[in-house]
């Protein structure tokens, strides 16, 4: 077909096709991304007999066209997997532990990151670049290379008076290493944000007779709430997801975080998939809510400094 043969309708069809193709591919990617969530939910609601059949029944109900249209139940939905999961393991406690550790890490990193980020972006002092590079360098170091010494330290501290809150099976015992490992990212987010603030903010404060500390606490920090939220969310997700240190440091079941709790479900002889899928789905609920509420902030945090550096 040459260009001259194209009618307006052809162009319209082409446009519609393009749009369909575009939204079709977006929809396909969304489905591929979310399918496991759907699958975990379906599996967790199946009675145990239905879990181990092949070919698989996907939906609990289907529409049948024999003798007119009717809805046919394929299998009954049940909450028994959830009851078993909650009865066997303290899943609620795991979630609470994760929440405490992740929040503690986020608070600590926001505090330290804001102060360091402010100094590194808006103050003049000697050794500024080396200090920034030193902080960022720690982001390159593998976690495993810090595991054994910190584990030994936690064991040693366990016998001392501070062991009650710094040893193994303590929240701070995880929060402090997590905060140290994520600090470079927090510092980076803050210094990228502070760099964009106009100089006039500080000038106005100094002119009004505030000290530099006054400027920091009364002007800079209050306007940096967006950066604080971004850094807190990024650090929170990291701490919520961490596994290697949580596995090593939390040896008591009541102190385990959700990642460790779920990873250690079952034993070497059997894997109770029904209860595991129920526990997994419980752990996904807070994450799903988090993603849908904070998606914008998460993207900001991941991409802060990108394209500007």
């Amino acid at each position: 077909m040459s260009v001259r043969d194209l009618t307006l309708e052809d162009v319209a069809f082409w446009e519609v096709g393009k749009r369909l193709g575009y939204f079709g591919s977006i929809l396909a990617i969304v489905l591929i991304s979310m399918f496991p969530v759907f699958w975990i939910l379906i599996s967790s609601l199946k009675p145990s007999g239905e879990l181990f059949v092949f070919p698989i029944e996907y939906l609990p109900y289907t529409v049948s066209f024999e003798n007119g249209i009717s809805i046919v139940q394929q299998y009954p939905l049940t909450l028994e997997n959830y009851e078993t999961a909650l009865a066997q393991r303290p899943v609620g406690q795991y979630l609470l532990n994760s929440l405490i550790v992740a929040s503690g890490t986020a608070v600590l990193d926001v505090a330290l990151g804001a102060l360091a980020g402010y100094s590194l972006s808006r103050l003049n002092f000697r050794y500024k670049l080396p200090v920034l590079l030193l902080i960022l360098f720690t982001a390159l170091l593998p976690f495993i290379s810090r595991l054994i010494p910190l584990y030994k330290l936690a064991i040693d501290l366990g016998g001392t008076p501070v062991g009650g809150f710094l040893g193994l099976n303590t929240y701070l015992g995880l929060i402090l290493p997590y905060a140290a490992f994520q600090l470079p990212f927090a510092v980076w987010i803050f210094q990228a944000y502070f760099k964009e603030l106009p100089d006039s903010l500080e000038e106005a404060g100094l002119m009004d007779g505030l000290s530099r500390i006054g400027v920091l606490f009364r002007i800079i920090l209050p306007v940096s709430m967006p950066a604080m939220a971004t850094a807190a969310i990024i650090v929170f997700i990291y701490a919520w997801n961490e596994f290697l240190f949580a596995l090593t440091f939390m040896t008591e079941d009541s102190k385990r975080t959700i990642t460790v709790g779920i990873a250690l479900f079952g034993n070497q002889f059997s894997t109770p998939w029904g209860t595991i899928t129920a526990a997994v789905f419980l752990s996904l609920i807070p994450l799903l809510l988090f993603m849908f509420f904070f998606q914008q902030k998460i993207v900001e945090g991941m991409t802060s400094g990108v394209g500007k550096a």
Partner: protein, 331 residues
């Protein structure tokens, strides 16, 4: 910062030119110079990193040069053994677990990261367009990235169940398989599958970083190129790629180092099996340290030596990226 007010304040309070009493009064009133304030703000941060990042690394290196005990009993002394732990890892008499893990990690990292880069770029180009409810789509697409690795491993272990896996079921229904396939039971296939899972999980992360980089490239450059008659490919090669370099550096480092440290995925998906087919370096080091206190050396010595080697390789990778992609004069 070149603001005159700050300079005025700094000349009032320049250290060295004032008496000790004036300086103390200044401190009491919390009037600090920039340098003093930076010291106050950065000292806790640096002490924190010194204690929890630099000290542990040095201790790991130190421990790797000694015999080690998982828990030191009274009377046990660590003895200096030089590079003996490294010799046992790198030149073992029997099984070569380290080199196997090295191969697994290298394959896993350097197949998944380029694949994520290609798919991520495609996805970024798709997401450049604005549409209603884009944030919902974006949240859904980003979801796999936010999923905890080890939970993700359990999810896929179930979906890839050798007899009742939904992936098998879909492939059977599509006519691609005759019967359920045990993806995680055959050494080669298990490693490919694990690599595929990580590509599924982190492509969206790559896409969103690249999207931020793409949107920072000014549209006028493309307009000018179009007026000059440059093809789409020329525009991509001569405008997009060079200007995307700093973003690529960030994206590659942010993906390569975590991929190289994969632990939760093999732990939850296969436990490193079948055999050692999916045992990554960090899984190997963790098992050497905690599951496997050898007869002469405690596991911590072997684990520390393995951790030191992992650190060295990670730093080499970072160095290669920075030297090939970092261009301070670009902007």
């Amino acid at each position: 910062m070149a603001d005159s007010i700050a300079n005025v304040q700094d000349t009032i309070a320049r250290p060295g030119e004032e008496g000790i009493r004036a300086r103390l009064r200044r401190y009491r009133e919390l009037r600090l110079t920039e340098e003093e304030l930076a010291t106050v703000l950065l000292t806790p941060v640096l002490l924190f990193l010194l204690g929890l990042s630099f000290y542990p690394i040095l201790d790991t290196v130190w421990a790797s040069l000694h015999t080690g005990y998982v828990i030191e009993l009274p009377g046990q002394q660590r003895a200096f053994v030089g590079l003996e732990n490294y010799r046992q890892i790198l030149l073992p008499i029997g099984e070569t677990r380290f080199w196997n893990a090295f191969g697994v990690s290298m394959f896993y990292t350097f197949v998944s990261v380029p694949a994520e880069l290609v798919f991520g770029l495609g996805l970024a180009l798709l997401l450049q367009k604005e549409f209603t409810y884009k944030y919902v789509a974006q949240a859904a697409i980003l979801f796999p990235w936010a999923l905890p690795t080890v939970i993700n491993a359990k999810v896929w272990a179930w979906m890839l169940h050798p007899d009742y896996g939904v992936i098998s079921d879909i492939l059977v229904r599509l006519g691609l398989l005759a019967e359920p396939y045990a993806f995680l039971s055959k050494p080669d296939i298990a490693l490919y599958t694990m690599t595929g899972i990580t590509i599924w999980k982190t492509t969206s992360f790559m896409a969103l970083i690249l999207l931020a980089g793409l949107s920072s490239i000014p549209d006028q450059l493309y307009e000018a190129a179009r007026i000059d008659g440059a093809s789409r490919w020329r525009q991509f090669r001569d405008i997009t790629l060079p200007l995307l370099k700093p973003t690529l550096l960030v994206a590659l480092i942010f993906r390569t180092l975590p991929a190289f440290q994969a632990f939760g995925l093999p732990f939850g998906l296969t436990g490193g099996g079948p055999g050692e087919a999916t045992a990554t370096l960090v899984l190997y080091a963790q098992q050497a340290a905690y599951n496997n206190p050898g007869p002469t050396n405690g596991g911590f010595a072997t684990g520390s030596a393995a951790a030191t080697l992992i650190t060295l390789i990670a730093l080499v990778i970072a160095l290669v990226y920075v030297t090939t992609l970092y261009e301070p004069e670009v902007r």
